[in-house]
C-alpha cells in the first residue's frame, strides 16, 4: 500500500520552475516528508513551485498548513506556489473550507507556467 511519494522535476521551458508531483495522502503523518523535501528545494534557491496534485488522494489540516507555509516562504523570496489539478475530492475539501480563493489553482501546466513567469 502506497502512502506518500514525492517526485521532483524542472520545467524544460522554465528551468527555474520546479514541479513537485505528490502521490498518496498528505496528512499529519506524511507532512514531515513533504516539509523535508520543500526545505531542501528552498535551501537550494527554488522560489517558483508547481505542486502537481493529480495523484493526491487526501489532504488534512496539517497538509493545508504546510502548503500555506510554503506559499508564504516562496512569496517572501519573490516567488510563488501554484497548485495543479487537484482531484475532485481534494478540490472539494479546499473549496468547502475557502482555500480555493487563497491558493493559486491551475488546470494545466502551461497555465501554471504563465502565472509563474509573469
Amino acid at each position: 500500500m502506497k502512502t506518500f511519494e514525492v517526485d521532483i522535476r524542472s520545467l524544460d521551458s522554465s528551468p527555474d520552475v520546479r514541479v513537485i508531483a505528490l502521490n498518496g495522502y498528505l496528512d499529519a503523518h506524511t507532512v514531515a516528508d513533504f516539509d523535508r523535501c520543500t526545505d531542501e528545494l528552498i535551501a537550494a534557491g527554488t522560489v517558483k513551485i508547481i505542486l502537481d496534485l493529480q495523484g493526491l488522494s487526501y489532504i488534512s489540516s496539517a497538509g493545508i498548513g504546510a502548503l500555506m507555509g510554503l506559499s508564504q516562504r516562496l512569496k517572501k523570496d519573490g516567488g510563488e506556489l501554484v497548485l495543479l489539478q487537484p482531484t475532485q475530492k481534494v478540490f472539494k475539501i479546499l473549496d468547502l473550507l475557502g482555500f480555493t480563493r487563497i491558493f493559486h489553482l491551475c488546470d494545466s501546466e502551461d497555465e501554471a507556467e504563465q502565472i509563474l513567469r509573469s
Partner: protein, 154 residues
C-alpha cells in the same frame, strides 16, 4: 443500499501518526456503506482524522501509560452517526484556540488551529470535554436520514 442500524464500531490504537490512514479508511468505508454522499463522506473522514491527529500530537507529552491510548467509537443510530474520539492524556490544551474563520487563519500566519475549526464546520454537532489529567473527549454528530425515509432504497 443502507446498512441495518444501530451498529457500533470501536477502534483502540497506539498514538502513532501512521495509524491515521487506517482509521480514515475504516471510517470512509462505514460512511459509504451507510449510503452517505461523497461530500459527507469526506467531511466525516476529515473530522475524525483531525480529532485523532490531535490526540497523537497533543494528548500525551510523555509516553502514555495505556497500551492503546486512542479510542474511536462510532455509533450508527437510526437518525444520526455519533463519533467519539477519546484519550486519557493531559486533558488540557487550547481547544478554544481554534481559528474562527479561514480569513483569520490566513491573516495570523501561524497555520494552526485549523483542525478544531474543520470539525466544527464539517459536522452537525461537536462537543469537546476536557478534564485535566483525565483526558479529552471529542463527540461529533452527523445527522442521518432514517432508513425508512430513504427514497428508492432496497
Amino acid at each position: 443500499m443502507s446498512l441495518p442500524r444501530p451498529f457500533i464500531l470501536e477502534l483502540r490504537c497506539p498514538v502513532e501518526m501512521s495509524i491515521l490512514s487506517w482509521i480514515r479508511g475504516v471510517i470512509a468505508q462505514t460512511a459509504a456503506a451507510l449510503g452517505l454522499p461523497e461530500e459527507d463522506l469526506s467531511k466525516i473522514e476529515m473530522s475524525v482524522d483531525e480529532a485523532c491527529a490531535n490526540v497523537i500530537e497533543h494528548a500525551y507529552p510523555d509516553p502514555p501509560e495505556e497500551a492503546l491510548p486512542l479510542t474511536v467509537r462510532v455509533e450508527a443510530m437510526t437518525d444520526a452517526l455519533r463519533i467519539m474520539v477519546c484519550d486519557s492524556g493531559v486533558g488540557a490544551g487550547d481547544l478554544r484556540g481554534a481559528v474562527k474563520s479561514i480569513e483569520e487563519y490566513v491573516e495570523v500566519k501561524r497555520y494552526r488551529g485549523l483542525g478544531t475549526h474543520i470539525m466544527q464546520r464539517f459536522m452537525d454537532e461537536v462537543e469537546f470535554v476536557q478534564s485535566p489529567g483525565e483526558g479529552t473527549r471529542v463527540c461529533m454528530v452527523k445527522y442521518l436520514t432514517p432508513p425508512n425515509a430513504t427514497v428508492g432504497s432496497a
